[in-house]
């Protein structure tokens, strides 16, 4: 039977190209996601190792609990006086020791914009005294000696086109200054710290101006010859006593890896979800290909049965074919994965998320997974067509009439489909009317999807008739196209279903995002009393000197800086605006549902409704939370309607400090103008004093809303780009199904040409069918995705208050689907049109 498998494959190799393509794309995405994750992991690993450099131990001041997360925390760094280094230097176990100051230094590009807005960190360091200990290596120039000189990482220098001797923009603790670049360095072989910009200052300047009040943030020590790690650690700990974290280099690396591990994992999992969608879509394509290819081989199969092949043997042979195609596709998919991984890096790069990892890491595991996934998916998708095809009775080989595979019990499918549809509608209604929650809705959505997929053969006919109106305008080509689309409803349905998945997800995401944006701007309008918001454009926050400058602007009445704090209650993280409680009512118009805001001044906590409902909190209750300094209990003073505000709680600065939280620089500064001040003039004046601070943005309410919307847009853009891949697979499905249909209908096309159909009309006929299939898929997708999206945003926990259907986007989506159908039809149409009339007519 293996010869049979092999021969079958060779005979139909053209037909399997598309199946293999679908497998390649699907598994390519899987392999790409894995490769991307591995590359990221390795990039981080190398980064962490290079950060430690040649030091044996690293000493830091004991930090408040809750170690550093990804990226530097905005909180003030733990630090210790420079004398500590002298004390360590005196130890005979230590050969060399050096201190380091780490802080924030924002590089301003020649375009006046800070590099890396909300992207990778912007770091400033002090130059080392002992170069042996410095993890960084000079590439050219020298380390800075005095104020007015800096060294800069090679990555940033390259990106900005800077060289030794250039004066470049830099923000430390005040307005922009223009020091001279005297050195360019790298970290081992890396140009850059994960895309972060790194500036090295001379030690005096670093101590004075990186926000540590003249203290160091770390010390690196190298053991004296013959001194073991344990002895070194003991000696350092004994010398320094309490209040210091003394770690070996390996421990530092491990700690960093642990901190970033979940980040990499979440990233990979998210990508794998999209890969799964692409695979699901691909399995429809594979299913269709096998159905059609086997339909063309029915007589052959019947003949084999007649000469004595058992059903099982045929089944095995067909499945063997499937597994082989799948495995080969998977292997090629692993190769395609490299492109996908590069593509992902590029996509993320364009939106400012630069991640480490220049050399792609392809593990054998990745290749193995791609091959296995390819084989298994193809095998599964081929199961039903194979079973159907081998149940052909042997006598069919001898019959004169066209041979058709015995079709499954249609009514069972339809009844099951109808039941699923009803269940889905019930789940949606329940979610809409009661508070059934996202799980029920999710189950309902899946039921709807399966229901539509099961019944699609029934649904396709009326839909095609609906589209028949406009396509009939194309004359007989249009009519034939419609007839062709409905002649094998299940095939059309499977082809369309693949596109349906993509469009359902796209419309769901679009509605969700648009509604969220709508809610955000609505809430901003309603609950902000501030006339302007000064926003930190980088993780360094708004510099204090900028605050002073804002306060001095004519017409400005209230300046309320808010820092960001995080509380953890159980699993829930509450993002707080930590600010002067007295200023809250001046700049916010919070819709208080329970309690009042008076209690804020007394150290009470105000939380949003979503937090309150998640944690069962009411005004007057107390909540125990983890704060960076340890545990603390806060009285709840108010519950406010906070949908759309990007903070879920308010706390007075003093209360935050009492609880052990350190106050970072402000991220948002809410500014209120005086009653008699002219808003436009004041806003302009504000803008002109802040010209000196390119790292901050000044926004009015509308601008603030737009900014938030833009961030969301970017995220939605990435999601849509990832979904585009599954749409691509669906399009391949259309190409494939049509190409196979054209082969199947060769004689018929020959006949049409013989009785006077021009090549152009043939082309139009096939293209119209392609567009019809695409539109049916798009229509079904919207019919599924839109209601689910609309119901989803009504789920209470989400706190989305407005339902926005992005009609333009949806119309554009449908138009794109039609266009895609047109493109998908090009090749099959050309093939059909170029058939030789006589050859086609007399083909088998």
């Amino acid at each position: 039977m293996w010869t049979l498998t092999w021969k079958g494959l060779l005979a139909a190799k053209a037909r399997f190209v598309m199946t293999a393509l679908a497998v390649i794309i699907g598994t390519g995405f899987v392999a790409g996601a894995l490769t991307f994750g591995d590359t990221l992991q390795q990039g981080f690993d190398r980064l962490f190792t290079s950060i430690v450099g040649s030091a044996d131990v690293v000493i830091r001041a004991e930090e408040p609990e809750d170690g550093p997360g990804p990226g530097p925390t905005a909180a003030e760094p733990a630090s210790f006086p420079p004398e500590v280094v002298d004390r360590l230097d005196a130890l005979e176990e230590i050969a060399l020791v050096d201190g380091e100051v780490e802080g924030v230094a924002i590089v301003i590009g020649d375009d006046g914009e800070p590099t890396g807005q909300f992207g990778p960190p912007t770091l400033g360091y002090s130059a080392f005294v002992h170069e042996e200990l410095d993890p960084a290596e000079l590439r050219t120039g020298r380390w800075p000696d005095t104020a007015g000189e800096i060294a800069i990482d090679a990555g940033t220098a390259r990106a900005q086109g800077w060289d030794i001797g250039d004066d470049v923009g830099l923000v430390l603790d005040g307005p922009v200054e223009r020091p001279e670049v005297v050195g360019i360095f790298g970290l081992g072989e890396l140009d850059n710290l994960a895309g972060a910009s790194v500036v090295v200052l001379d030690r005096e300047t670093a101590l004075a101006r990186l926000g540590t009040d003249g203290e160091l943030t770390a010390a690196y020590a190298m053991a004296a010859p013959g001194v073991g790690e344990a002895a070194l650690l003991d000696a350092v700990r004994a010398e320094l006593g309490e209040g210091f974290r003394v770690q070996t280099a390996a421990e530092v690396v491990a700690e960093q890896q642990e901190a970033f591990g979940p980040f990499v994992e979440v990233f990979s999992i998210a990508l794998l979800v999209f890969a799964a969608v692409a695979l699901l879509v691909g399995s429809f394509l594979i299913f269709n290909t096998f159905t059609i290819v086997l339909a063309g081989r029915l007589r052959e199969l019947a003949l084999l049965r007649a000469v004595g092949a058992s059903r099982g043997q045929l089944f095995g042979s067909v499945l063997g074919e499937a597994a082989l195609v799948g495995a080969v596709g998977g292997a090629l998919g692993a190769g395609f994965g490299l492109l996908v991984a590069r593509g992902l890096q590029a996509v993320l790069g364009t939106i400012g998320i630069e991640l480490p990892g220049d050399q792609l890491v392809v593990l054998p595991r990745t290749v193995g997974v791609a091959i296995a996934v390819g084989a298994v998916i193809t095998l599964l998708a081929a199961l039903v067509p194979a079973r159907r095809a081998v149940s052909i009775p042997p006598v069919a080989a001898l019959s004169e009439v066209a041979v058709a595979a015995p079709s499954g019990r249609g009514w069972i499918r339809n009844v099951l489909g109808a039941l699923l549809l009803v269940a889905g509608v019930v789940a949606l209604t329940a979610t809409l009317l009661g508070d059934a929650g996202p799980t029920i809705l999710g189950v309902g959505a899946v039921a709807l999807f399966l229901g539509v997929a099961a019944m699609s053969a029934l649904i396709v006919r009326p839909l095609a008739r609906l589209l028949g109106g406009p396509s009939a305008a194309l004359g007989v080509s249009g009519e034939l196209a419609r007839a062709n689309a409905t002649r094998n409803p299940r095939r059309t349905a499977a082809t369309a279903s693949a596109l349906m998945i993509g469009l359902a997800l796209v419309s769901f995401v679009s509605i969700f995002a648009a509604s969220l944006q709508g809610t955000v701007s609505e809430t901003i309008e309603r609950s902000f009393r501030a006339d302007a918001i000064v926003q930190a454009g980088t993780l360094a926050g708004v510099p204090p000197t900028a605050l002073d400058a804002v306060a001095e602007v004519d017409g400005v009445e209230v300046v309320a800086p808010a820092a960001v704090g995080q509380l953890e209650v159980g699993e829930r993280t509450i993002t707080l605006a930590v600010m002067d409680a007295a200023a809250v009512p001046a700049v916010f118009d919070l819709d208080v549902a329970d309690g009042d805001l008076e209690g804020l001044t007394a150290g009470g906590l105000a939380v949003s409704e979503s937090v309150a409902s998640d944690l069962d909190l009411v005004a007057g209750a107390e909540v125990a939370a983890t704060v960076p300094g340890g545990e603390a209990t806060f009285p709840i003073t108010a519950v406010f309607d906070g949908g759309g505000i990007d903070v879920s709680g308010f706390l007075d600065t003093a209360a935050w400090e009492d609880a052990g939280g350190s106050v970072s620089s402000a991220f948002n500064v809410y500014v209120r103008f005086g009653a008699d001040a002219d808003a436009a003039t004041t806003f302009d004046a504000l803008g002109s004093v802040l010209v000196a601070y390119p790292q901050v943005l000044v926004l009015d309410q509308a601008g603030f809303a737009e900014g938030l919307a833009a961030q969301l847009d970017q995220l939605v853009g990435v999601v849509l780009a990832l979904l585009a891949l599954s749409v691509l697979v669906a399009l391949l499905g259309i190409v494939n199904t049509l190409a196979l249909s054209v082969v199947e209908r060769t004689r018929e096309i020959g006949l049409l040409r013989a009785v006077g159909m021009t090549r152009g009309q043939v082309r139009r006929m096939v293209r119209t069918e392609a567009i019809s299939v695409a539109l049916i898929g798009a229509g079904l997708g919207l019919a599924l995705g839109m209601p689910v999206g609309a119901v989803f945003v009504r789920i209470e926990q989400l706190n989305i208050t407005s339902l926005v259907i992005p009609w333009t986007q949806i119309v554009v989506g449908v138009a794109l689907a039609a266009l895609a159908g047109l493109v998908a039809g090009v090749l099959p149409a050309r093939r059909a049109a170029n058939l030789d009339v006589l050859e086609a007519l007399y083909s088998e």
Partner: protein
């Protein structure tokens, strides 16, 4: 039943060929399927083509109908030299001036009988002439079958639909390449009788390949083909005359 006036015999020929040659393959494998045939097909005539398998009957018909391009020589239909036509014009000529009935697979399975019949008119974006449509449907006895799809029709009915489709544009010429080849004897003879009727009553010009001497005897003229040439011709044939010629050719 209103039937268009029979045309006079003085019409110009429906088609003619001059030194028509079709060669397949090259060198050793060369086959002269049609080898320098010159002939004229008068309007309003019924011609039967006979000859052993492989004698070039189909190839001749394909070249005459604009389905295939000759290697050399000329084919004129209604005065138009087919070799001057590009693919599109040739296709239009097939649609408007020529009808063809194949041995099998004549109909588009997704279309009803009526839709199949009017297909050439629809392809030309024209509505069928209602009176003519009724005339041919009546003559072919298809009135109650028009709403059926090919799969719901018998073989004889399918071929009759194909004849109606071939006639619907009132073409210069209708060709049949063994149109009765897949039919039982009775249905086959019925169909040929209908073709005869189309010539007599509907004033059509028909050329058809057949192996049936009885059927051939109903034609105005029989051409006998062998090795790509017209080796004999019979006008006003009788069954015996046809059988004689066939026997003669076999020796």
């Amino acid at each position: 039943m209103s039937v268009p006036e029979p045309a006079t015999r003085a019409r110009p020929p429906a088609a003619e060929t001059v030194e028509l040659t079709k060669v397949y393959g090259e060198g050793q494998a060369e086959v002269r399927a049609v080898d320098g045939i010159s002939l004229t097909i008068p309007s309003g005539s019924y011609t039967a083509v006979m000859g052993p398998s492989g004698s070039g009957k189909s190839t001749l018909l394909h070249c005459l109908a604009g389905l295939d391009r000759p290697t050399s020589g000329t084919v004129r239909i209604g005065g138009t030299d087919l070799s001057t036509l590009k693919d599109k014009a040739l296709t239009e000529l097939r649609r408007e001036q020529v009808g063809f009935v194949f041995q099998a697979f004549n109909l588009v399975p997704t279309l009803t009988a009526r839709e199949n019949i009017v297909l050439p008119r629809k392809l030309g974006r024209r509505d069928p002439d209602a009176a003519w449509f009724d005339a041919i449907v009546g003559a072919l006895g298809l009135g109650d079958r028009l709403g059926h799809r090919p799969a719901e029709l018998s073989g004889g009915q399918q071929q009759r639909v194909a004849v109606a489709r071939a006639l619907v544009t009132q073409p210069q010429l209708v060709f049949g390449d063994e149109p009765t080849g897949n039919l039982d004897r009775t249905s086959g003879q019925e169909l040929l009788a209908l073709l005869r009727t189309s010539v007599d009553e509907l004033s059509q010009t028909i050329v058809t390949v057949t192996h049936d001497p009885v059927a051939a005897a109903t034609a105005d003229r029989v051409w006998f083909l062998a090795d790509g040439r017209v080796v004999d011709e019979l006008t006003a044939p009788t069954v015996d005359g046809v059988l004689d010629r066939i026997r003669a050719l076999e020796h």
